[in-house]
Amino acid sequence: MKLPAATPSAQPIAESAGRHRSIARRAFGSRTFVAGLCIVGCITMLAVLAPVISRYGPNQQNPFHTLEGPSAAHWLGTDDLGRDVWSRVLYAGRTDLFIGFAAVLFPLIFGTLLGIMVGYFGGRFDTFTMRLVDVIIAFPFFVLVIALVFIIGPGIRGIFIAIALTDWVVYTRIIRSQTLVVRELDWVAAARAGGLSHARVLRRHILPNTIPQAIVYVMSDIVYVLLAVVTLGYLGLGIQPPTPDWGSMISEGQSFLTTNLWLSTIPGVPIVLIGLGLSLCADGLTDVLRPP
């Protein structure tokens, strides 16, 4: 996994639910954020509407029209089995966006909660958790994911589990360090001294002040997950054929890199765009969260 910067710690938020609404409103006021959201939204729409937009099934083979260039019939040409690349790119979006967004959910939730707990309570549990985090981080990411996918078996399930088992460490790390900062703030100490329960302090003070960091990171994380899927595809461990996904399309196309470059290039375009859109969202959010 790539590790994000320790985002400049946002202005601590005193007890507030209203603050979150205002962050959302300000986010929608940020042009960067809205632009990013538009890009992601467009691609998502295209993926969702794939059955309506595309004229061919994603797996519809045609042995008489293999490896053709773009034409009126096939806007983006055909692959080695004569399948329509445009249709496959659209349908691949369904697989990949689902994986990208769904696979980060568990790490986001689990990693954040764990980070808050260990950061707030400290102690031996903290030490142990952080050692575990160090161990997982010390593994080169691909090595670990590859090994896990080997064990679990390739395909969507393997990818989900491998990501779930490895990716939470980043969230834990980010959230823990942010929690350490927030915990020491005067008004948190005051809240605690004032007799608020741990649960309430965690929920009303620590969580609102730490979760924005996790949300900013999620934006990049989705792209990293997509990339991991692509690379697993290169190693033959990704989504199983014939299900189209951008990653396996790129890796299937690599046999034709020297002859039909577009086959492996086109599926990369939506990945780049998604990456761009999410980065813009993240930038916009960071701006909003940064103290004015």
């Binding site: 994000p4 990411f141 080997f150």
Partner: protein, 314 residues
């Protein structure tokens, strides 16, 4: 200075359980992965007797627990075993492959810094103008396209069309090595450059608004000096920390990059060993990677402490 050494000592001490954890996890993962090293050695048609003999020779005939005990006791004696396939000690294999990977990672890290610095500062100076947007968007291609794709594209452009760099391989002389490493290092670096640019640009923007920059300007310094001495130096600190944090990623990406560029380093050795189920080699290389990550992280902390006197090593 003795404080620093004590710090280094403590950190190394803390690293022991981490490295140990990685090693043990590797051992267990490997034995959980389906696939039989003996079969990989003697093939589909070999007799069961042949497979059994090979298993005995490789020390794979005992229970997992006894294998684990053997593994640990070997490890404690500093012995990482003998490669199932190469028939030579894992250590000698690693020693022969390490320079390639170390040079690749070092050069990639250097590229990260050299490319990120000017681009991020320019982007920050030109905030919200076309240059800024271009600098922020274009590297995202590196984020969206996998290393194996970018690598091949680089080869097609810079080695085939424009014969500036060798197509692949490692060469003989040091200058060969350097030339051979430029494209692979660039490929590996591209994976994290967008991340770094973003961080450094944000950092630079923060620094731009800092009072001490106003102080520097009020002194009458030229803008160039303000930019390089005051802005860059301060914005660099979080970036270096981020780079250090991502060294593990860089090391991991050598697995792919070395293969695409036909470099015989630890990454390609690891990939091959995993495929062959060459347990001792996988364990050895992972150990080296883990130690490298730990050391780089320590080094990063020392460097950032050097760059930022406010940081106290504790």
């Amino acid at each position: 200075m003795s404080d620093t050494w004590r710090y280094v000592g403590t950190r190394l001490l803390h690293a022991i359980p981490v490295v140990f954890g990685v090693t043990v996890a590797t051992f267990l993962l490997l034995h959980l992965i389906p696939g039989d090293p003996a079969r990989q050695l003697v093939g589909l048609h070999a007799s069961p007797a042949a497979v059994a003999t090979v298993n005995r020779r490789l020390g794979l005939d005992g229970s997992l627990l006894s294998q684990f005990r053997d593994f640990l006791s070997r490890l404690l004696h500093g012995d990482t075993g003998t490669s199932f396939f190469y028939g030579v000690s894992t250590r000698s294999l690693i020693v022969s492959r390490l320079p390639v990977t170390a040079a690749l990672v070092a050069l990639a890290a250097l590229f990260c810094v050299v490319i990120t610095l000017p681009l991020a500062i320019i982007a920050a100076v030109q905030k919200d103008r076309l240059t800024d947007h271009a600098i922020r968007v274009i590297p995202l291609v590196g984020l969206g396209m996998p290393a194996f794709w970018i690598g091949i594209l680089f080869i097609l452009i810079f080695s085939v069309k424009l014969p500036w760099f060798p197509v692949g391989g490692w060469g003989i002389s040091y200058s060969d090595h350097l030339r051979a490493l430029i494209l692979p290092a660039l490929t590996a670096a591209l994976g994290i450059i967008p991340l770094l640019i973003r961080s450094l640009r944000a950092g630079a923007l923060d620094v731009f608004n800092a009072d001490f920059i106003a102080t520097a300007r009020a002194k009458g310094l030229r803008e160039g000096r303000v930019l390089f001495l005051h802005v860059t130096r301060n914005a660099l600190i979080p970036t270096v920390a981020l780079l250090g944090l991502n060294i593990a990623y860089l090391i991991g990406s050598t697995v792919i990059v070395e293969r695409v560029f036909d470099l015989n380093g630890l990454g390609s050795l690891l990939l091959e060993a995993v495929g062959n189920r060459d347990f001792p080699v996988v364990e050895g290389v992972t150990l080296v990677f883990a130690v490298a990550v730990v050391l780089v992280n320590l080094g990063t902390d020392l460097v950032t402490a050097q760059l930022d006197p406010r940081i106290r090593l504790r």
